[in-house]
Amino acid sequence: MPQEIFTHQFNNGLVLLAEPMDWLESAAFTMLLPAGCSRDPEQFAGLSNVTSEMLQRGAGSRDSRQFVEAIENLGVDGTSGVSNSHTTFAAAMPATNLYEALSIYADLIRRPWFPEDQMSEGLQVCLQEVWALEDDPAQQAIVQLKKQHYRDPWGRSCQGTEESLAKITIDDVRQQFEKTYHPNETIIGIAGKFDWATLLDQVAELFEDWKPFQNGEIQAGVPQEKYWHKKCDSTQTHLGVAYDSVPYRHPDYYQARGAVGVLSDGMSSRLFTEVRERRGLCYTVYASMHSLQDRGSVLCYAGTSTDRAQETLDVMMAELLRLSQGIQQNELDRLKARVKSSLIMQQESSRSRSGSVAVDWYYLGRVQTMEEISQKIDSLTCESINSFLNRHQAGNFTIVTLGENALEVPVGIS
């Protein structure tokens, strides 16, 4: 059955994408708002996160308790989060409650109260996230790796710091909301059981009169150090390694994705085999593609005990460098099997598809059908991936370590 994906762009710029999955009884939406933390003014790091938190403290006709009561009684299972590029609200629910859920979330993102008397509590919630990160060196390694590898603000994480949060007032939150919550650049992805004509009318009713706003350009900061170490009181050392690759919208993206798959997808992948299975150096080791709109990279992580950290880094680096010597047919065959089964299994989840269609639109300005992705995967060959790897050799590494000792990092990275 050919996959059908409806798209509609309203006059105010809002994009609605909808993928019918009639075999399910659920529906899900993913709202991507252009309110990522890369939009935080430098002195107010964490502002988008505070804004997202304050948004949920009363909107439209409901205070925060009435909001939670309403969505829970409708069986809406929702999440929210702030990434570098977006604030995201996503939810799955019984299909019959889709319209009511959308209308509640329309209030949230269009008509928040921003009650001043809840500002200190909202800030306190965001401070808890700052402290949580301090206790989690594995997560810190990845957060710091992005900071070191990308120029600010693209390497930022959303939490901010104790100092920056202390400066934020309710007026800053209101201003940030005015600047970053607008229909142009907002994408709503929906998947599951629905009738398209009805859905289009409903979304029009809820969002068509939302006024667009043109936000300014983001200014790039200065490049960061290529090696960063933090001394930690721990039996473990956490290693992060990054190097440049291509972004999601690049014609060679699936070549890069294929190569990283050989490195890290599945139990027979190279990093898992060489670092964990053969040498027993660690429990967790992986590499993954990370994409911004105009640039992409490979991010790698391993956590290991202090006295084995240097060997772990050395083995990881050797695998990253060995990749440019090429991949084998059997590695590619296994990768294709895994990717294709993941694609098919996505059809069991409206939540997963609503996210995929929204993210595709953000990066590509269109949605790829699963058939199209499947064809791209099929067309990968060892020659095509090896040719890509020849043109994009791993190098110019950014490395972060958290642990007892700094490590010897490979020559030529600084």
Partner: protein, 419 residues
């Protein structure tokens, strides 16, 4: 939400005792297959602490027919999403994949259930297990859950650590592991579970062919009576920024009918959104998280609350939690809280059931814990049937304020809490 798919539950038992159960859904896009083995940390002794979990790793290291590399390669060749986990009372090996590959997955998983446990692999994998122990020591909540299980259950087998310690794992021999394997992995102590687009006849025929020759032997699980200790233990971790506290009290066991009411009560008091703990501690920013839920085991159950907040705020927050538990014991919960929690849980059950991989665990747990199969609708109905009286009975039967407490973090001392 309606469930319209024609699902069929099927079961079969081989002559050596291996049970095969499946929820067959002809409309699913995938199939999940798993071996549920009734063994875990509660079946260990001090000298082999951590062996169940270590064995779970060793199972992937090969069989007389397959090397460790073969196993990993084949799992990836069939495009499967495969893994395993070990709990206090279960070790589960599972694979989710496309329906046309069911036969290959069953062939591979069944072979793995009779592992070689080679000495070389054993020594290398021991390092990985030790790294895993370090990993959990290094990430929040720094073992607080296991420490509290130990404090709450004391010498009862459920108080045992799943991972074991660096010392116990270091001291473990492959002979001791083999002997444990030979006591626990009897076909009568294992269940082959499948869900999704299952070919049941083929599954049974294949199991007969591959597993029919496995020798059956008696297995035994200790289930001594339980005397929760309700103690207070503090583990100082200077390097932590936040304080982590676990509270445990008695709750329904896996076969107790009041487990549905207990889960509804848990959602009202301590779900991560919209609960009493949420509104009082999390939404106010007093805690990073404060949650409570019930968990069931064979012959015992617990209510477990988890608190994470600054050290300075900990005492006040614990007072608030104890106040919330005590208010619930005295006044119960309201009709609207009950309905909201039921609606929320029912929807979560139905949403999760859309994935065959989730049904695999639901069907497998239900069967191995209770020898019972419940459809999604029956599960939803069981939650919807919970009344205020049922919740009242749970509050009366299991005093949530009578709890064991374990704290991990910078604090060196915590005052006793008012009941």
């Amino acid at each position: 939400m309606r469930w319209r798919c024609p699902l069929e539950f099927r079961e079969a038992t081989l002559s050596n005792g291996l049970e095969i159960v499946a929820e067959c859904n002809p409309r699913a896009y995938s199939v999940g297959v798993a071996y549920f083995v009734n063994t875990g940390s509660r079946d260990e002794t001090d000298d082999i602490a951590g062996v169940s979990h270590f064995l779970e790793h060793m199972v992937f290291k090969g069989t007389p027919q397959r090397t460790a590399d073969d196993v990993n390669r084949e799992l990836d060749e069939i495009g499967s999403h495969s893994n395993a986990y070990t709990s206090e009372e279960r070790t589960v090996y599972y694979s989710n994949l496309l329906p046309e590959l069911q036969e290959r997955a069953v062939d591979l998983l069944s072979d793995l259930m009779r592992p070689s446990l080679r000495e070389n692999d054993f020594n290398t994998e021991k390092q990985v297990i030790i790294e895993e122990i370090y990993k959990y020591e290094d990430q929040p909540p720094f073992g607080a859950h296991e420490k509290c299980m130990n404090a709450h259950f004391g010498s009862h087998p459920l108080g045992r650590s799943i991972l074991g310690t660096v010392e116990s794992v270091t001291g473990l021999t492959s002979d001791a592991m083999r002997s444990y394997f030979e006591r626990r992995y009897s076909p009568g102590n294992m269940t082959l579970v499948a869900a999704g687009r299952v070919e049941f006849e083929q599954l049974v025929a294949q199991a007969e062919h591959l597993c029919g020759g496995w020798q059956s032997f008696e297995t035994h699980r200790e289930a001594p009576s339980l005397a929760p200790r309700n103690g207070r233990e503090i583990f100082v971790k200077d390097s932590a920024v936040q304080q982590y506290v676990v509270l445990m009290s008695r709750g329904p066991a896996a076969t107790d009918n009041d487990r549905y009411a207990a889960r509804v009560l848990g959602a009202v008091l301590g779900d991560d959104s919209g609960s009493r703990l949420y509104w009082d501690l999390v939404e106010t920013g007093l805690a990073e998280y404060a949650v409570l839920a019930s968990h069931e085991f064979q012959g015992a159950g617990i209510f477990m609350a988890f608190l994470c907040c600054t050290p300075e705020q900990t005492v006040e927050n614990l007072d608030r939690i104890q106040g919330i538990l005590s208010a619930a014991e005295q006044e119960g919960i309201t009709e609207s809280e009950l309905n909201q929690a039921k609606n929320k849980i029912a929807s979560q059950v139905v949403l999760a059931s859309e994935r065959a991989s989730n049904r695999l665990f639901a069907v497998g747990s239900g069967w191995t814990q209770r020898r019972e199969y419940r459809t999604v609708k029956e599960t939803v109905d069981a939650y919807q049937a919970v009344t205020l009286d049922d919740v009242r009975a749970v509050l009366d039967n299991y005093q949530l304020t009578q709890n064991t407490m374990v704290a991990v973090g910078p604090l060196t001392d915590l005052p006793d809490l008012a009941g």
